[in-house]
């Protein structure tokens, strides 16, 4: 049951960049198709300093993935496609309930359940919940009601966002980022394409600003006109001012209350790590909570949600903090170095990797964490080591990720004698792949490397648990127990 204080999907644009991993997750739940159809795929980015283009990059997407590295799609669309999929599942009998205009107002935490007080236009009522997932955003009322911490860094800057509709040939489907643009409409400025001829413009406007004044249409237009030039026509679709923080809760799990998304961790928008990491949170939590509720795994499996997603949050916070420090330098000397990097990168390629206008969201690798098992594949590729999310690859007429089971999978590549493995009621379904299934060779590159055969044990959220050269039933059973927190 989902409670939301509003009715219908979220309004206001906010997130626009959705990463490959989010699309892969959405695809497993059956709703990536409309996202991909509607979204804008982009690969080229340009970086400007003052009025000069200092360089251009191409994300050069790796071949052999069903989904692009990123699509641009306004958050309300992303949410709409998720809800439509839920409605479809409901129609097929899935026991899901969405309750709009139901605001959580009180919470009483008990040992094995919580009592929720919910306010609706018709009056209040109580719910007894065995489990409660707090997905109530950065301002999380639940966190507040439970008196929990949310610590980190506040950045003293604000950004004015305008989503505008314009029909202009001057601006291609690229990501343009200006440091200190000479039009002075922002200390930095971002221009990014969305579907339906809409553009996201993001102006860095400083800390002490009068929000109401800045949001007046005439003032927003002043900035836009300075940036786009006097003759460009556009319509303002949505504006907002945001400031940002990089912070997280110390613990995401509090007994039977589990925090996910922005309520648990908040990052600056550079790198698109907010909504994308929220998707990874729920994907991580879903299978674990399912197993615990069904009695297939001990309660402590849920502690690994906290362990893994806290590590991911730290990684996201680190990356988005570094990007923010580069974009909005905090001292005179860091400003000097920032501009030295920009100046050098115009003519010297070495400086370009130092330019940081956001390191775009990639999923965390759970290296060395409790559920992650052994790496016993000699010469196996780095990118598929235990803890990694499985990279996609073409497989026959389709793709590997769609062929993996919704539960645990035992993936073998050119290996003999393997079969389904069952351990304490948990089954890892065997998926066997041979050379002939891999026409492009991408699968061998990503899963074999130097090895001639490989055996991978894969979780329901498609992270690698452990891998071996050959089928070793005892080792696989042990890894499966460990991945269910039974060791």
């Amino acid at each position: 049951m989902l409670l939301d204080d509003h009715e219908g999907i979220g309004q206001g644009s906010r997130a626009i960049c959705f990463a490959k991993r989010s699309l892969e997750i959405a695809n497993r739940y059956g709703c990536a198709g409309p996202m991909l159809d509607k979204g804008v795929v982009w690969n080229v980015g340009k970086v400007f300093h003052e009025d000069r283009q200092i360089y251009e990059f191409n994300l050069l997407p790796e071949e052999g993935h069903r989904f692009p590295a990123f699509i641009n799609l306004a958050q309300p669309y992303f949410e709409k496609f998720l809800v439509e999929r839920v409605r479809e599942a409901q129609a097929q009998g899935a026991p899901i309930e969405l309750r709009g205009k139901n605001r959580l107002e009180g919470i009483e935490v008990k040992e094995d359940h919580t009592v929720l007080t919910v306010a609706t236009p018709e009056g209040n009522y109580d719910i007894l919940a065995d489990w409660l997932i707090a997905a109530d955003g950065a301002g999380s009322p639940m966190r507040g009601m439970m008196g929990l911490d949310f610590e980190g860094r506040v950045f003293q800057d604000s950004f004015l966002i305008a989503d505008i509709r314009m029909l202009s040939e001057n601006f291609p489907t690229e990501r343009w980022f200006w440091f200190e643009p000479s039009h002075k409409a922002g200390a930095s400025t971002l221009l990014h394409k969305q579907p339906d001829d809409i553009w996201r413009v993001d102006f860095q406007i400083g800390w002490d600003v009068d929000r109401a004044e800045e949001l007046k249409e005439v003032n927003v237009r002043k900035r836009l006109d300075a940036m786009l030039g006097p003759d460009v026509e556009y319509e303002i679709v949505w504006t907002s001012i945001y400031t940002f923080q990089c912070r997280r809760m110390k613990q995401f799990r509090h007994g039977r209350v589990i925090f996910v998304g922005d309520s648990a961790h908040q990052v600056s928008p550079f790198g698109a790590r907010g909504a994308n990491s929220g998707m990874q949170d729920v994907d991580n939590l879903g299978w674990k909570l399912g197993m615990v509720i069904r009695g297939e795994a001990p309660d402590k499996l849920l502690d690994s949600y906290d362990e893994e997603r806290a590590a991911a949050a730290d990684e996201n916070i680190l990356n988005s903090t570094r990007a923010t420090d580069f974009i909005t330098p905090k001292s005179r000397i860091s400003h000097v170095f920032r501009n030295a990097v920009l100046a050098l990168s115009e003519t010297h390629a070495f400086a370009r990797p130092l330019v940081n206008s956001g390191r775009l969201s990639v999923p965390c690798i759970y290296d060395g964490l409790s559920l992650t098992g052994e790496d016993a594949l000699t010469g196996g590729p780095e990118q598929t080591r235990p803890g990694s999310p499985c990279p996609d690859a073409p497989l026959g007429d389709g793709f590997l990720l769609s062929a993996l089971d919704h539960g645990f999978t035992l993936l073998t590549v050119d290996a003999n004698d393997a079969a389904d493995v069952s351990e304490g009621g948990i089954v890892a379904r065997h998926l066997s792949i041979e050379k002939g299934d891999d026409p492009s060779g991408a699968l061998a590159r990503r899963y074999l490397g130097e090895a001639t055969s490989a055996v991978y044990l894969i979780r329901p959220d498609q992270h690698v648990i452990a891998r071996w050269d050959t089928y070793d039933e005892i080792a696989i059973r042990a890894a499966l127990r460990c991945a269910c927190a039974k060791e």
Partner: protein, 63 residues
């Protein structure tokens, strides 16, 4: 200690004079920018992360 802290520049006086000469006529701000560019160029040339960290530590006052 991978960072070479022994004398390594042939013609030390000439190098020093050349370094200072580049700052002639620069404002403090321009000098700071010059130094930053120089550091970035040299750091990239060295490349080795342990050497760079060691140099940073020594520059920061620890021996």
């Amino acid at each position: 200690m991978p960072l070479n802290t022994k004398s390594n520049i042939a013609g030390a006086d000439e190098f020093y004079a050349e370094l200072i000469k580049w700052h002639d006529g620069l404002s403090d701000e321009e000098s700071a920018a010059f130094n930053a560019r120089l550091i970035l160029l040299l750091a990239n040339h060295i490349g080795d992360r342990t050497v760079l960290s060691e140099a940073l530590q020594i520059a920061g006052g620890s021996d």
